[in-house]
Symmetry: C2
Subunit: 344 residues, 2 copies
C-alpha cells in the first residue's frame, strides 16, 4: 500500500470485491450502476485519492491532450506573452503545453518538431526561425495528419492556418505618422528578407512612400537579420551615409533598442535629429528615454487565437484560415519632430 505509487481501478475493485468494469462505470456515473455501488466506489476512490492513469488513457485513445509550441526564443517579451496566451487557453481546454525554443536555428527547429512528433503531441503551434528557408519538416506534418498552426512568422499558408498581425498596414501607418510629423527621409530597419513579416512590413513602408511620391532609395533600407546587434550596426551604417535618414522605422523590439543605442552613441537627438519608431511592448517602450513611439501587438490575443485555431483543427475542422490581429500605433516621444505638437 505504501510502495505502490498510484492506485488503480484494480486496487479498488479487489478491495470492494467487485470487478474492474464495475468500478470504472461507477466512477463515470454510468446509469447502469446501482446508487449504493456508486457511492461505495466513489467513497473509496476519494479516500485512496484515486487518479486515472493518463498513460493508459493516452494509449487507448491516442490523445495525450498535449500540444507543442515552438518559438525562436522564449525570453523576448513578445514571445513569452504569446506563450502566456496559448498556455491559458490550452489549460482551460484541459490541454498541457510543451514549449521549446529554436534559438533561431533551423537544425534545432527540425529536431524539436521531430521530438514533438515522437512524443505524439496532438498538435503544434509554430513560429519559424529566421534561418528557416526550407519548410519540408513542416510539410511532413500534413502527411502525418498532425495539426499545425503558425503564428507571427508563417509559411505554407495554403496548407496551414495561421495568426498574424496586420503587418503591411502597421508599417504604412507608422511611416505615415513619421512623414506627417516632420520627418522627410524615413529609413526602414528590417530583418532577413525571406521572412513574410519582413516582406510585408517593408511593403507597407514602400507603399506609403510611393503614395506620397517620395523616391525610394535603396540606401535607406537595411535588412539583414532580426537582433539587437543588427539594429545597432544597421543604424550606424544608415546614419553615417553622406545623406543620412532623419527617421528610422525599426520593425522589431531588438532592432529598435539597437537603433536607439546607435543614435545615442552618435550624439544625435531623438526625435529632432532622428525620429524613431519601434515594434515593441508596452512596458519597455515606456522605460526608455525618450519613451518610444511604437507599434503594439496584441500578443496575448495572438496566443489565444492561435491556440483556438489549433484546437479547432484538432477537433477535425478542415478549413484553412488566416487570422489577422490588428496592431496599433502608440505615439510617445520618439517620433514627432514638430516644435508645436498637437495636444495628445
Amino acid at each position: 500500500m505504501n510502495k505502490k505509487k498510484h492506485i488503480s481501478l484494480k486496487d479498488i475493485a479487489s478491495e470492494l470485491g467487485v470487478s474492474i468494469s464495475t468500478v470504472s462505470r461507477a466512477l463515470k456515473n454510468s446509469p447502469e450502476i446501482s446508487a449504493e455501488m456508486k457511492e461505495k466506489v466513489k467513497q473509496l476512490a476519494r479516500k485512496w485519492n484515486y487518479r486515472p492513469n493518463p498513460f493508459a488513457m493516452s494509449l487507448l485513445k491516442n490523445s495525450p491532450r498535449m500540444i507543442g509550441i515552438i518559438v525562436p526564443d522564449i525570453v523576448t517579451h513578445f514571445f513569452s506573452s504569446i506563450i502566456s496566451g496559448i498556455n491559458d487557453l490550452a489549460r482551460k481546454n484541459n490541454y498541457s503545453v510543451i514549449i521549446s525554443s529554436s534559438y533561431e536555428q533551423y537544425e534545432l527547429e527540425k529536431h524539436i518538431i521531430e521530438d514533438f512528433v515522437n512524443i505524439r503531441v496532438e498538435g503544434i503551434l509554430a513560429c519559424i526561425s529566421q534561418e528557416t528557408t526550407d519548410y519540408s519538416h513542416f510539410e511532413a506534418l500534413s502527411y502525418q495528419n498532425i495539426p499545425l498552426v503558425f503564428f507571427d512568422r508563417v509559411c505554407l499558408t495554403d496548407k496551414f492556418s495561421c495568426v498574424v498581425s496586420d503587418n503591411a498596414h502597421s508599417s504604412q501607418n507608422a511611416t505615415e505618422h513619421l512623414l506627417n510629423t516632420g520627418s522627410k527621409r524615413v529609413a526602414f530597419l528590417g530583418g532577413a528578407n525571406h521572412l513574410e513579416i519582413v516582406k510585408q512590413r517593408k511593403h507597407g513602408y514602400l507603399q506609403t512612400l510611393r503614395k506620397r511620391k517620395i523616391p525610394i532609395e535603396r540606401e535607406l533600407v537595411f535588412c539583414k537579420r532580426i537582433g539587437y546587434d543588427e539594429g545597432y550596426q544597421g543604424s550606424l551604417k544608415l546614419l553615417s551615409q553622406p545623406y543620412p535618414p532623419d527617421a528610422i522605422l525599426a520593425m522589431n523590439d531588438s532592432l529598435a533598442f539597437g537603433a536607439m543605442r546607435a543614435i545615442k552613441e552618435l550624439n544625435m537627438k531623438i526625435p529632432d535629429d532622428v525620429a524613431l519608431i519601434g515594434y515593441t511592448d508596452e512596458a519597455h517602450s515606456n522605460y526608455v528615454e525618450p519613451a518610444l513611439t511604437s507599434v503594439t501587438h496584441q500578443t496575448y490575443k495572438m496566443g489565444t487565437e492561435a491556440c483556438n485555431l489549433l484546437l479547432k483543427t484538432i477537433r477535425g475542422e478542415k478549413n484553412i484560415v488566416k487570422k489577422v490581429i490588428p496592431t496599433s500605433l502608440i505615439v510617445r516621444n520618439s517620433s514627432d519632430k514638430r516644435p508645436e505638437k498637437p495636444k495628445r
Copy 2:
C-alpha cells in the same frame, strides 16, 4: 497504411512474418537475434519511420520523461531566462518540460500542482507565488514521493532541495556601494515580508547599516508586494516624506522600474537627488536612462542547476542540498553620486 497514424511493432512483425518479440529485440540490438534478422527489421523500421509509442512506454515504466515547472509568471525576463536554462538541460536529458504560471495566485498554484500530479510528471520545479503562505500542497508531494526542487522563492528547505541566489550578500554589497559613493540615507524597496528572498535581502541591507553604525529607520523600508505599481507607489511614498531617502535599493526588476518612474515624475535627478539600484537583467538595465546599476542574477544558470538537482532527485538521490548562485553588482550610471567618479 494511410489511415493509421503510427507504425507499431505489430505492423513490422506481420509484414516480416515474425513475432512482435523478435522485432522488439531486434530493434534493441539484443544479442540473441541473428544479424540478418536484425538487419531486416531495422531496415523496415527505418523505411516505415517507426517510433516507439511513448504512452505504451510510460504505462509500462510509469515514467513519462516529463517534468513540470511552475513560475509566478513567464513573461518577466528573470523567469523566462530561468525557464530557458531548465528547458535546455531537460532536453539534453531527454525530458520534456511543461510550464505553467501561477500568476502569483495561491489557488491557481495549488491547482497547477495537482494537475502536474495527475499528468504524472516525474518531478516538479517550483518558484512559489507571492500569495502563498501555506505550503501543504508542496508538502503533500513529499508523501507521494514526487521529486520537487524549488528555485529563487523557496520554502520547506528542510524537505526539498533548492537553488537560490546569494540574497543577503547581494544586498549588502549593493548597500555598501551606495554608501561608498555618496548616498547617506538608503531606502529599501521590497516585497511581501513572508518571502524568504525579501527577508534575506532586507537582512543584508540592515546588516550593512548596523555595521556602519547607521541608525535604522522604519520609514526607509517599504515592503508590500513585488510589482511595478508597488514600486511606483512605494517610491512616491518614500520620497514624499519630510526627510526622504537619497538612495533606493529596489529588490526586483519591476520594483526598480516602478521606482524609476516615480523619481522622474517627481522631477528628481538620478543619481544626484536619488541614487537607484535594481535587481534586473542586462538588457533592460542598459536601455533605460540613466543606465541602471543593478544586481545581476545568473538566471540561465539557476535554471540549469535547478534542473540538474531535480534530475538527480528523480534518479534517487536523497540528499537535500541548497545551491547558492552568486550574483554580481554591475555598476552603471544610476548609483554613484560623487562628482569625480573613479575610472570604470
